[in-house]
């Protein structure tokens, strides 16, 4: 009985004193925070200071492109210039952090532009307002007046990198298929543009149907499929000279869906012989080929992992289009997609941790991402027709083509953050499809 009473008393004491003992502390107060907010980070970009006569307009334009780049990511929100309390009139003057703190700007980008003798110099600094310190060190870029947009993109890349800790993607280009004319007589030609749709330049004339351009990792060459000879054949184009040539192959055999290996020396593509389509690899220098798949089914859309050791591709060997991963040298493939619907056009992320794909299910097309083992599949978009994802050089954004329904339907380019936020259209002069994002320049 005594023991029972003692046990009861001990339990009661523990129940009462336990929480108090837990709350008591000997060292610092320890708190764990597991819930935050997901929202754009407010920042300010006042007009850059014009340090030479005639640089005023350029200073404003560069500041606007920097702001457009940052705000366009969806990760940042610009505090309107009308709300600014302080004005930066000199690049070297101290920053009044209290004024920027008052308008809740967490980061501040200050800059100056000078233009002398056909040479433009842009310099900038990034400030952590609440810490009252500079993020990184000041930097400057110089170039011709024609290249002011690239300089602005480079400034934005630096700002992005210093705040997020990751490389940017603003100073990059996208090769795509420009489309014009009615749907049944649509002219398609290769074009290249800045990541934001500016500076569109055409690479082919439009006499022959072209498909699926793919940048090399250095951005100097483009692989694409052309019907110039009547049958689809893989071509390689030098971006600098706009000269293209057909990759060697057998006459009368269709080759398509090419993509560079990370080293740029090897190309993987599909060849159709009869009713069978397989994946092949070709050494560009020697022209030597190697068959990587041999199943009696359609294997196509190969894409290398960033380290070049594996290839993800689509195959209907199981009855429906699914995604598979195999060694880069060929061999046994393992299926990674497992959901409902048909999967196609897989692309390995530059980070190496995810694969983007097109999915068709229940009459809708989606752009989605999954881990390289097929887990954590997440659909980011949904529409009448979404297809052909391509990764930004930092693996953070996916660009793809979206076509609208109907006889007057047109294709255009969209981008979306891998979190599924910030879905937006990329403005192009004409219709656009088949984007391929090049490297950071």
């Amino acid at each position: 009985m005594k023991q029972f009473v003692a046990t009861c008393l001990t339990t009661l004491l523990l129940a009462v004193m336990g929480p108090l003992m837990a709350l008591a502390q000997n060292g610092p107060l320890r708190i764990e925070i597991t819930e935050g907010v997901v929202e754009p980070l407010p920042y300010a970009v006042p007009d850059f200071v014009a340090e030479s006569a005639g640089a005023q307009e350029l200073a404003q334009q560069i500041a606007r492109v920097v702001a457009d780049d940052l705000t366009g990511t969806g990760l940042f929100r610009e505090v309107p210039r009308e709300a600014h309390i302080s004005r930066i009139t000199s690049f070297g003057s101290p920053v009044q952090f209290a004024d920027w703190k008052a308008i809740n700007a967490q980061a501040l980008v200050s800059g100056a532009v000078s233009s002398e003798g056909g040479r433009v110099v842009v310099k900038f600094r990034v400030w952590d307002v609440f810490a009252g310190t500079e993020l990184g060190e000041g930097m400057q870029f110089a170039g011709s007046p024609d290249g002011w947009r690239r300089m602005a993109h480079k400034v934005a890349d630096q700002v992005y990198s210093r705040i997020t800790g990751e490389s940017g993607y603003f100073d990059s280009r996208v090769v795509f298929v420009s489309e014009s004319g009615p749907k049944d007589q649509r002219a398609k030609r290769l074009a290249v543009m800045d990541y934001d749709g500016a500076n569109v330049q055409y690479l082919t004339s439009g006499d022959a149907l072209v498909l699926a351009p793919r940048f090399s990792n250095d951005g100097e060459r483009v692989l694409y499929t052309s019907y110039e000879t009547g049958l689809p054949r893989v071509h390689v184009l030098e971006v600098g000279t706009v000269q293209s040539r057909i990759l060697p192959g057998q006459d009368g055999v269709m080759s398509f869906a090419p993509r560079f290996a990370p080293d740029g020396q090897t190309v993987v593509y599909s060849i159709t012989q009869g009713a069978n389509t397989d994946i092949w690899a070709m050494d560009i220098a020697s022209g030597g080929t190697r068959q990587l798949t041999s199943a009696p089914s359609i294997e196509t859309a190969p894409s290398y992992s960033p380290d070049g050791s594996q290839i993800v591709f689509e195959s209907d060997r199981s009855g429906t289009q699914q995604l598979y991963v195999m060694p880069a040298s060929g061999g046994e493939a393992r299926r990674i997609s497992s959901g409902q619907g048909r999967y196609s056009t897989p692309v390995w992320s530059p980070r190496g941790d995810m694969i983007a794909f097109t999915k068709q299910n229940a009459g809708r097309f989606h752009i989605g991402v999954m881990r390289t083992d097929g887990s954590e599949e997440r659909l980011l978009t949904a529409s009448f027709l979404d297809e052909g994802p391509t990764w930004s050089p930092n693996g953070r954004v996916i660009m793809f083509a979206r076509e609208t329904q109907g006889a007057q339907g047109a294709s255009s380019l969209y981008s979306v953050d891998i979190s599924g936020r910030n879905l937006k259209r990329v403005r192009t002069p004409d219709g656009a499809s088949d984007p391929s994002w090049g490297p950071l320049q």
């Binding site: 107060l29 764990e32 907010v37 810490a131 997020t164 979190s419 599924g420």
Partner: protein, 368 residues
């Protein structure tokens, strides 16, 4: 030596006693059917057996009377017998007797009948309730926030519109614009997950027409009733301020070398501190920094403000140097940005919170 025997003997004894007195050999009595009965007197029985007039049947002849303009309307035997010999109501299905050549009752008789109860509408409801799908919003936060009113500015605090008034009874509040927090959802909603568009707000029900006002209450009454409130409020505020000042004085009067032991922070005090910081912790869920758990250490002064120079990363895990630095910067911004004029912490427990280690763990944020 004989312990086994004793145990065996005792056990057998218990078994024998249980067999004798435990009813093991007794059999259950046979089942008997029991029916409830009630006693009825002879008079009651006679009354029950006597024929009862059927009131429902008595009303029927009127309904079955053919209209006057109809002539060759044969009368059915049932119609004749109904008034005198009420038949036992036949609840069974009536025989499909030949239809009497009687015209159908006049339509007006059916008007008085209550309509048959309408069948319950079939509702196609799923067996399992679907989880409500959050609506997309530009901000993702631990607590969902509805869209603010269109006329309201976005601000952390909710406040009503205060406009200038000509009346002398206007309160002391300054003119202000209505504000409301920015709309937020609890998770990222992609286009593929976005629910179908539906109205987010319903029309406010219209108020009833105003009844004639009884008698206008004298305005002085309101003034006399409301006038004392500010004074009382001022008293309360003064008391609160004096109490806070007193507590601060006491806290400040403590010698610097006072022992660190003291009353611990309560759960609500700790939660208040945590929530204040987490509202400013911006997590970039798609970045490598979202894989990093970082612990930040810092000191605070008695006003609840962070001593910025003491902010330092005490530990981190889950990412490379760049991602770790980014995670630390985000945590530091959260701590500094939301402190305002100082975090609300009890001054008398300063020793408990003058040094803080705050761990920022974004694990639960990654899949949003």
């Amino acid at each position: 030596m004989h312990t086994g025997h004793y145990i065996s003997g005792g056990a057998h004894g218990v078994l024998i006693l249980w067999a004798l007195f435990g009813g093991i050999f007794g059999s259950d009595p046979p089942d008997v059917e029991v029916a409830e009965v009630s006693v009825v007197s002879e008079a009651e029985f006679t009354a029950m057996m006597a024929p009862q007039p059927d009131t429902s049947a008595a009303e029927e002849p009127a309904a079955m009377t053919p209209p006057e303009d109809e002539e060759a309307a044969p009368e059915t035997p049932a119609q004749e017998e109904a008034p005198t010999a009420p038949p036992e109501p036949d609840v069974a299905e009536p025989d499909p007797a030949p239809q009497p050549a009687v015209p159908e009752p006049a339509p007006e008789t059916t008007e008085d009948l209550a309509p048959p109860p309408a069948p319950a509408p079939e509702v196609e409801a799923p067996d399992v309730a679907q989880r409500p799908v959050p609506r997309p919003a530009p901000r993702v936060a631990p607590e969902a926030v509805p869209d603010p009113a269109p006329e309201a500015d976005v601000a952390p605090e909710v406040q009503e519109t205060v406009e200038e008034s000509d009346t002398a009874e206007t309160s002391d509040a300054e003119e202000q614009q209505a504000t409301a927090p920015e709309a937020a959802t609890t998770e990222i909603i992609t286009e593929a997950e976005e629910p179908a568009r539906a109205p987010t707000a319903s029309v406010r029900p219209q108020t009833r027409p105003n009844r004639p006002a009884p008698a206008t209450e004298p305005r002085e009454t309101e003034q006399t009733e409301t006038a004392p409130e500010p004074a009382a409020q001022e008293d309360v505020e003064e008391d609160t301020a004096s109490a806070i000042a007193g507590a601060l004085e006491e806290a400040l009067a403590e010698p610097a070398e006072s022992p660190t032991e003291g009353p611990p922070l309560t759960r609500s005090e700790t939660d208040g501190f945590r929530i204040a910081v987490q509202d400013c912790w911006v997590v970039d869920v798609g970045s490598q920094a979202a894989n990093v758990t970082v612990t930040v250490a810092f000191d605070m002064d008695r006003s609840g403000q962070v001593v910025a120079s003491t902010l330092r990363m005490s530990s981190a895990s889950g990412g490379d140097a760049s991602a770790t630095e980014t995670a630390f910067q985000a945590a530091r911004r959260a701590i500094l940005r939301c402190q305002g004029d100082g975090y609300t912490l009890p001054p008398e427990k300063f020793d408990q919170w003058k040094s803080v280690e705050m761990t920022f763990n974004p694990e639960s944020m990654r899949i949003r």
